[in-house]
């Protein structure tokens, strides 16, 4: 194992930042980034699932038979997702109502399964924790950035507070579905320009 824990953690924030560099988990990225708050909430929920499932899968990696590993991973992931769903219902109910169906859909988020298959089942617990935390925070960051971009332009607000005052005419298109694709495209383009220099 050549990489240190810090390297595993940091790679999730830029080098392998999930929606932009790995281009994984696009469904929730496009769907929930209507506002910054939704984006961050979704990001934190996914991070929790990712960290927990990465650690548990790494702990069990020598017990889980190779042939049924995917079934085992999905069971573990689905359990944590349901736990998150209960916790969100109990403590952040309004956010739970807004994110709705996308919380249970974390089960099929390819980032979570992807990290389990590509990383956690081959590495020790500490590295898997660092990997899960890094990728999760990277995902949260991406959702927050895309959410900011869309909310500021589309509704003229940031976290519900008005940014430009009354003179600004909101560009409503940005909070609709096509705005999500265009926003993602522009950010992806900017990131590619930045990293190619």
């Amino acid at each position: 194992m050549a990489k240190t824990l810090t390297q595993e953690f940091v790679k999730g924030l830029w080098e392998e930042i999930p929606p932009f560099k790995l281009v994984l988990g696009l469904c929730p990225v496009l769907a929930v980034t209507r506002s910054v708050e939704n984006g961050i909430g979704m990001g934190i929920a996914t991070t929790f699932v990712l960290v927990c499932s990465n650690m548990l899968i790494s702990m069990l990696r020598n017990i889980i038979p190779q042939k049924i590993r995917i079934a085992c991973f999905i069971t573990i992931i689905a359990t944590f997702v349901t736990v998150v769903e209960f916790l969100m219902q109990a403590y952040t109910y309004p956010l739970y109502l807004k994110l709705g169906i996308f919380i249970p859909l974390i089960v099929v988020n390819c980032i979570v399964l992807g990290r389990a298959e590509a990383f956690a089942c081959k590495n020790d617990v500490a590295h898997s924790l660092a990997d899960g935390l890094g990728i999760g925070l990277g995902f949260t960051l991406s959702l927050a950035v895309l959410g900011t971009f869309r909310e500021v332009l589309g509704a003229g607000t940031f976290l519900g507070h008005s940014v430009f005052g009354d003179v600004f005419q909101p560009f409503t298109f940005m909070v609709e579905a096509p705005g999500a694709f265009i926003g993602l495209g522009i950010l992806l383009c900017l990131m590619n320009i930045a990293s190619s220099k």
Partner: protein, 201 residues
């Protein structure tokens, strides 16, 4: 064969532990979730159907046992009218549809209702919650009347494109009426108590 046995064992163990954990988390969070649902789902509906109430239906709520289940009742007094509100469920297009129905205790009529939980399709079934004119059709009907959509020979105009949701709402109304009929003696008693409490302060 050994391999096969190990696979079955691991998966069986994993799923049973997972089931146990989920049951635990569920029982730990159940009360808290109920409170949140009360606050965010039922309160707005209660406030809108019982806007004129002289008491606070949320703080005066009480539970009545109906066989194995306990129903939460939201009582209200508007002038001389004694009103009880209870929730019932019907099956919608993509999950349960919750409906709060308010009954006038003296006339046995429905005086208002509103959808609480719905995961119906936005733009179609979701109108049951968003468009007040749909549930307004139930207002004033007697509890002896069985609600059903026109397609099924009833009186209710279904929401266009959402017959299944509309049927779900009808089922919920009929269910609420059935509960109301069963619990009526106890409801009257509780309402009298509420009245005397109200008189003393």
């Amino acid at each position: 064969m050994n391999d096969m046995f190990k696979m079955v064992l691991v998966l069986a163990l994993l799923t049973s532990i997972s089931g146990g954990v989920l049951a635990g988390v569920r029982s730990l969070t159940m009360d808290r979730i109920e409170y949140q649902q009360l606050k965010f789902q039922k309160e707005p509906v209660i406030r809108s159907i019982l806007a004129d109430a002289e008491n606070d239906p949320m703080t005066d709520r009480f539970k009545i046992k109906d066989g194995d289940v306990a129903h939460t009742i939201f009582p209200a007094k508007i002038g001389d009218q004694k009103i009880v509100t209870l929730e019932a469920f019907g099956k919608g297009f993509s999950g349960p549809v919750g409906l709060l129905v308010a009954f006038d205790l003296d006339n046995d009529t429905i005086i208002g209702s509103g959808v609480t939980i719905s995961t119906e399709t936005p733009g179609f079934g979701s109108k049951a919650k968003e468009d007040p004119s749909f549930v307004a059709q139930l207002e004033g009907t007697s509890i002896d009347q069985v609600a059903s959509v026109k397609k099924d020979g009833g009186e209710i105009d279904a929401i266009s494109g959402a017959t299944i949701t509309s049927r779900g709402v009808c089922v919920a109304v009929n269910e609420a009426t059935a509960i109301y009929k069963r619990l009526k003696p106890e409801l009257s008693k509780s309402m009298d108590n509420l009245g005397s409490e109200g008189g003393t302060d």
